[in-house]
Symmetry: C2
């Protein structure tokens, strides 16, 4: 008898995840260790999390009926994708379905302008910013003091999509007419020494717990490398963690959040972005910490205790991105050399198609020192190549 | 559209595992991180690994047709269960299917007498032993020098099944007449200071790599706790690792092996048992080492490089066994208290029914020191209770 269906004993606690990409996959991985059931909703039947889902609902993220069906099947609902229809989620939460983080939180965060206004009102440090439509003929806006500025779409922009550099005030009106992105905002560019991020979890009991501070390097607006511990002073570390915890404190809802920050030239810390979900810059925690961001997220949404994550060893994560040269099926070259490297864990998300700069996986290296880990990560990058399978 | 089947793109490398218990589940867990496909064969459609399998063949382990079908579907076949029909596996290996470890190796190990003879011939240290039918009227056998002895079934005995303590030579004939266990052997009992084990992997290129030495405590012949690093001298550690590596060297085949040893009162190390698979005493490696026994097993059977596993921090593993009081469905009590413990990872295998002493899961604790880890493990044991769900 050959079976490819799953049997799901209804007595198990179960988690529903809107979004079956690599974040959903890694949440599912931790859930499975603890024998929790996982239901995934995603439009792609071959999405990364499909190989771990007990149950896969193939539907678009804006399919209200499908999302309601999912919420009926599970004990708690969460989402990895910020494009989830926040109105649908708000409906569900009014119907008293457990959804984390709270849809009201998602609504604030999804709009970058709304997000910055919210943080500023709570006295949290953000770069100067303004809504494009609020910029009048005068030059009073503090944000216009230094060019270039970054012009951002208020909604639906991530990994650099929708960001433009603006060198003159006149350019603003030209670019902002791209109606497909809705409203626009401008923000001052912070000359930063480092980009930092901290994962922070909060559960319904109000317990808040933050992870160590990560140092991130981006390449063309996509995360390339994460180093933990960040190479900063102890004081800066405490400050970054404190700002991150305060940020999550003021947002409603449970789950894990990523607070991305700039460490400015003048040592000031400014909040850059917030994501109400596990984050690329937190993947290092799977091997590097006493608890991973994914398990912490699960614990937070189930209102379980949130221990304080300890960094177990210096850790470096390097993203594996689709090369710019092709789009299509691929294979990995240099695997044998890559796998000789000590302390290396290879994560492949199982995406069938490579596209330029698509996140296909990552490599995490733990070592006795951060410089060892960095050296090995360079070796890993030089060994591993994504090749077109023609 | 609601899908509960998996789509398996045939281009992915795939692993077949005979046995879908917790070992198969944990192998599958590591395989999934690297986007490998996993096909499982097990008679139980709800076995622990079913929740991670891309494909589940429900069949008995002695079903030759089903095992051949499995081997046709995958690139490499391995097995977690020692009851696999070694004759079937030998057939398959002659048909040039890749099976690891080699069925010839399994045949040696499956029979405890044959195993001990093999090791002794290779000058590896074992306790005195003899086949019951070889024990004659005289008292010449070295093994009969000190009573009590342990009487073991040569085949199909694990976790203490089939073991008896013998206080007088006359008892031997009485007990050995239980024909269901086949042949019997007797072995001297080693007054040991500690029970140790070392996981050792070998790939087809002949590379051998051992894990740190674990210290194990058993309760009623079932593993209760594993502590790493073992509390032994550096010299004893080197000796144990050396004996374990030499043991795996002389066995044919690739994969990971567990070499269980006694540290005798006189500081001698003697081999107790060998298992040609990942082992309960190696679960600590998931969190405690730079690579887990499960990933090392996968690398070994795919002939990938085998790095030397580093112990990242002191680690203690505690088994979660079904209580003696009932057999039936269960739930966990004390979870909230348990999950307040720092550095704790909960593994639940997803077995629906608890039986007395059945392995339902384990808890692994990493800490700054072994004594910290031990303290927390005691707290974990006192917090967690398996309750009958009536």
């Amino acid at each position: 008898m050959h079976i490819t269906t799953r049997i799901i004993p209804q007595s198990q606690p179960s988690i529903g995840i809107i979004g079956g990409g690599q974040l959903g996959k890694m949440i599912a991985q931790e859930a499975k260790r603890m024998s929790l059931k996982v239901h995934i909703l995603d439009p792609d039947p071959e999405c990364p999390a499909s190989s771990l889902a007990d149950d896969l609902i193939v539907a678009d993220f804006r399919n209200q009926t499908a999302i309601r069906n999912l919420s009926d099947l599970v004990d708690v609902l969460t989402y990895e994708i910020e494009l989830a229809d926040s109105d649908v989620l708000i409906d569900l939460s009014r119907a008293k379905k457990a959804i984390h983080p709270a849809p009201e939180t998602l609504k604030i965060i999804q709009n970058k302008y709304r997000q910055k206004v919210f943080l500023q009102e709570k006295n949290l440090p953000v770069p100067n910013f303004a809504l494009v439509e609020d910029i009048d003929g005068s030059t009073n806006n503090a944000v216009l003091k230094h060019f270039p500025l970054v012009l951002k779409a208020c909604e639906n922009s991530y990994d650099g999509r929708g960001n433009r550099l603006i060198y003159e005030k006149e350019e603003i009106t030209n670019v902002a007419s791209e109606k497909s992105f809705g409203k626009w905002m401008v923000e001052e560019i912070i000359p930063f020494r480092k980009e930092l991020s901290v994962m922070v979890a909060r559960n319904e009991s109000g317990q808040v717990s933050s992870f160590p501070v990560a140092e991130n390097k981006h390449s063309d607006s996509i995360l390339d490398t994460t180093l933990v511990p960040a190479r900063i002073s102890k004081c800066t570390e405490r400050m970054a963690r404190d700002i991150a915890e305060r940020t999550v404190d003021v947002l409603k809802g449970s789950g894990i959040f990523c607070v991305e920050m700039f460490l400015a030239e003048n040592e000031k810390i400014l909040i850059n972005e917030i994501a109400p979900r596990p984050h690329n810059s937190g993947h290092y925690s799977i091997e590097g910490c006493s608890i991973s961001q994914f398990e912490q997220h699960i614990r937070a949404i189930l209102n379980l205790p949130l221990p304080k994550p300890q960094l177990m060893s210096p850790t470096v994560m390097v993203n594996i991105l689709g090369p710019k040269e092709f789009e299509g099926e691929y294979y990995l070259d240099g695997l044998n050399e890559l796998l000789t490297i000590d302390g290396l864990k290879l994560h492949l998300y199982g995406k069938r198609i490579s596209k330029p700069r698509r996140k296909l996986g990552h490599v995490t290296i733990t070592a006795a020192s951060i410089s060892d880990a960095i050296d090995r990560s360079k070796k890993a990058k030089s060994n591993l190549r994504i090749m077109n399978k023609i």
